[in-house]
Symmetry: C2
Subunit: 292 residues, 2 copies
């Protein structure tokens, strides 16, 4: 919490910026810094006094400086501490740079392809959200491609990555093709032996059906898949999930001690203990539906 209250919305340029969904809204007192329409979506950068600068796409909250660690630590470290090797990493989406930043904290990563469809997201994130991307944008291991992630995974050679991470938005609009069998099968094809796949898999509360269907489909495609539960206060319901998958056993479930030790001190949320709990905290209704 900040030491001072923000000015009441209505004074200066601060007003409530809300995402509304199904009769629920989550808003931050904020001012809009820049808003532009890309070929894909409306990209809005705001400055909130409680959570710092933030990003919305088509009016949906994506990230903010002081609550992005929940998301980025959760999607990255179970994969990067679980895969047999982590030399080559592919990130689909992730145009704010936070996922790449967390991956590049692992010194064993030598090559990271970041494939974001919307160049405007990258441009505005680099300009306004430098605190999220951190040094990733200038790291020589990062290779940025503004392009279609679905085509990328269809065309990349088999067994060309140790880790594939899908950091996309909800399955509507440009991210719709990131939640189907053909896409997941290509991701599996790209993985080297001992590789790990990770994707954000929506809220078990606000997007219950998509969440369950995604976990089920990943189990069919990879053989092993498990959801991990955490929080992103600005997302619908605040309760969020990421699902990890692998062909040769659920190796994402336990963190390699040496890799964990190298990144843990820099984490706010993630730790090997937290990870074990977050994989265990499958709510009863999801456990029943997945078993059914």
């Amino acid at each position: 919490m900040p030491p001072t209250e923000p000015p009441a919305p209505g004074t200066d340029n601060t007003h409530w910026v809300d995402e509304e969904l199904h009769g629920v809204r989550y808003g931050l007192a904020a001012s809009v810094i820049e808003e532009r329409q890309s070929a894909y979506q409306r990209v809005t950068i705001i400055d909130s006094q409680t959570y710092g600068k933030g990003l919305l796409l088509d009016g949906c909250w994506m990230t903010a400086e002081r609550q992005e660690r929940h998301y980025h630590e959760s999607i990255v470290h179970p994969a990067l501490c679980g895969a047999a090797s982590i030399e080559r990493v592919l990130v689909i989406g992730g145009g704010d740079g936070g996922t790449a930043r967390e991956c590049l904290r692992h010194p064993q990563v030598s090559h990271l392809d970041l494939v974001e469809i919307d160049g405007l997201v990258v441009e505005l994130s680099q300009r306004h959200l430098a605190a999220i991307g951190g040094g990733a944008w200038s790291d020589p291991r990062l290779h940025l491609t503004v392009g279609d992630g679905i085509a990328w995974v269809a065309n990349a050679p088999a067994a060309s990555y140790d880790v594939v991470i899908v950091d996309g938005s909800d399955p509507a609009g440009p991210a719709e093709g990131l939640f189907n069998r053909a896409f997941f099968e290509n991701c599996r094809r790209l993985l080297r032996p001992g590789g790990v796949f990770a994707t954000q898999s929506e809220s078990p509360e606000a997007f219950r059906e998509v969440h369950i269907a995604t976990v089920r489909l990943l189990r069919q495609v990879f053989g092993h898949a498990d959801p991990l539960y955490g929080w992103v206060p600005m997302y619908p319901s605040g309760w969020w999930s990421w699902t990890f998958a692998a062909v040769d056993g659920p190796r994402y479930l336990s963190a390699d001690p040496a890799r964990a030790a190298a990144v843990a001190a820099g984490c706010q949320i993630w730790s090997p203990r937290w990870q074990q709990g977050a994989f265990g905290a499958v709510p009863a209704f999801v456990e029943r539906e997945l078993a059914g």
Copy 2:
């Protein structure tokens, strides 16, 4: 999610009902059914189309029919499945009846004292939120006292309860005295050998300092205390905690299989597996602060 969108706020009696805190707001499209001022607080009953009927105290979200299980299952079952015996239970607060309802699902409970300071909360919950209290209000094992829980724990005989649960609101207003050493020491005094204490312990994000201080204090007073992390979407940040304490070892950590089996099928969130994960999912920053 409901199958249909609610009417846009502004049509009929539906409008946005928000809680605002530190530059963040969470709102439901709802109509106000009844609103009255008690000696302690403003009590508001709303009807929302997404989460059903709900309760606010002084404008802060307390509960709603279709998201109350997160809270009530989380605070009750680790205590009721962990204590050596569960014949006599004390609930301080909990005027909506949800905590009592979950406790009374355990057939071994023979006497439950519910001590709620605000009779208006009970009256309006019985009238409008019958789905939350369920059959608890007419259960002969329930003994309702409208009165001061702080005085109750000061005056009750030592070793008179197997489980003590504090289901109060934030530590401001009538619930302020539910978060200090004298109160916790009295709660410890009331416990029989093998007894378990439970309290809601705020959000590690929105009320970080109160959360840490509460866990620390409970460890000092009882000897053993551990936070469990879950979700209440309508509470600030959506990320919430309950802390369990015991004198003779952390027996709340593992659920008695027979008691768990008797209630698990009726739970939406809680299961022994979920409980183990939720105790494990201590975020890194809390673990560091508690160790320091």
